[in-house]
Amino acid sequence: MRLLRSPALLGLATIAAVAGLMELLVAWGALPSYIFVRPSAVLLSIVGLFRDEELGWRLLQTLGATMAAAGLAAVSGVPIGWMIHRYRLFGEIFGNWLAALAAAPFILLYPLFLAVFGRGEPTIIAMAYVAALVAISLKTREGLASVPTVLRAVGAGFRLTQMQFFWKIEFRSAVPAIFSGIHLALVFALVNVVGIEFLIDYGGMGGLIADLADRYEVPSMYAAILFVVLVSVLFFWATERLERWLNPM
């Protein structure tokens, strides 16, 4: 009954129960140990990954590529979003393409990026950059387009110049959407970086999982996957918090 009164506890208890059951079933031999691994062995393997597989360095590589892609996307995406909003012709030419790209299964293009940039960081960063750019420019446009009419009227009433109108009215109103775009850009960049690393078997954490799977080191592979999931969840949680902190509105 106490579990039902505390849903968070119920969620944690379910995870603990599944892990405990798995531990017992593998220990008793009810589940094949060449496929399933005891959760305790997986947790212990994470320590081994730091020692033997340079997991810390791999994490830095992945996060570095993510930050590079998202940073480039932020620097170029905000002006692009502004231009799509400000200049109708630019918006008609590029806006629809960006929207189409956002809905398209973009990651499937990775063989083309491989052909253009080769197997390495440029492909990883370029793909993550495009995914992040789409999110940030569309969000910037959305923010600039949704400035309340009353604020526009105030700007007109004060006879603001175009530049003053942009900095004092449009940009400030669009800040929440821009931060939301940066949050999405960071998440999309991380997902793409890890995904491409895994697919091309190169670089950071994604590359490590592919490498361990090839070597058939099952406990370490489970540990690396668990670590990637934990990092993704933490990253998503942290960027969400950052967005709320920067944008208390």
């Binding site: 379910t14 052909a115 994604g206 993704s232």
Partner: protein
């Protein structure tokens, strides 16, 4: 009447101007592409000319292998959508209707949703081996999260008056789901379906690229491995067009009010 006639003329002109702009933009893209293809900036063949891509498209469309691979991928995506999407709707309904379940498990679904699902491929491969099942399971995992989140969000927006009507008619939980929740949830479920389709397609095709010998993903990576880049562009163009078409079809399920 006269007013609507007057106001529709500029609107028509605006639509015509937009179409003209889109056409001019398309021609400009094409010219830039051709210049890139012929300028020799990239390694030969990396950016093929549009003529080479169209020729490759023509040959691919005449090749029976395309239809064989297409059938396999379409089957895998459909089954993945049915399993993952169905489980997502069930979770969304249950989590939205039963508060404790929603609050206990929703954070896990919400935070796991943005993780790259492709990293689960080695585990799925260990469990199901090389074959259709692995691809379907990866597609189903990918489809589950957007469907579950969209349904959960939708359940919370169902009007309380509808729920009260259901309760006053003493509907069973199953009847509540079928007669109250699902009709009221059409818009969020269709949105979830669109997202789930995109993610299922990505999951299935990436699994085909990584470890398969049939399907459109396998066909694409084979073109890459043999450096048939024009064919690769043509095939990816075809896949994107089919995906856009399916998206448009799903969009037609959206309520029009």
């Amino acid at each position: 009447m006269a007013q609507s006639h007057v106001s529709s003329a500029p609107a028509r002109r605006s639509v015509r101007a937009q179409r003209l702009t889109a056409l001019v933009a398309f021609i400009a893209y094409w010219v830039v592409w051709e210049l890139m293809a012929r300028a020799g900036i990239f390694y030969e063949g990396v950016v093929p000319s549009s003529v080479a891509i169209l020729r490759a498209l023509y040959h691919i469309l005449l090749d029976a292998a395309l239809y064989r691979n297409f059938a396999v991928t379409a089957f895998e995506v459909l089954v993945a959508m049915a399993i993952g999407g169905g489980a997502g709707i069930a979770f969304g309904l249950l989590g939205g209707a039963v508060r404790v379940i929603g609050r206990a498990y929703e954070p896990y679904v919400y935070y796991l949703a943005p993780t790259p699902k492709i990293v689960f491929l080695p585990i799925v491969f260990l469990l199901f081996g090389v074959g259709v099942a692995t691809k379907i399971v990866l597609g189903a995992i990918s489809a589950f999260f957007p469907m579950a989140i969209a349904t959960l969000a939708g359940v919370r927006t169902v009007k309380p008056v509808l729920l009260r009507v259901g309760h006053s008619f003493n509907l069973t939980p199953w009847q509540m789901a079928l007669k109250i929740y699902l009709p009221a949830l059409r818009a969020p479920v269709v949105t979830g379906l669109k997202l789930a389709f995109g993610f299922a397609l990505i999951g299935v095709m990436l699994a085909e690229i990584k470890l398969s010998n049939i399907g459109l993903g396998f066909m694409a990576i084979e073109f890459y491995n043999h450096f048939q880049i024009a064919e690769l562009y043509a095939l990816l163009m075809l896949i994107f067009m089919v995906a856009a078409g399916v998206n448009a079809l799903i969009d037609r399920l959206m309520p029009r009010d």
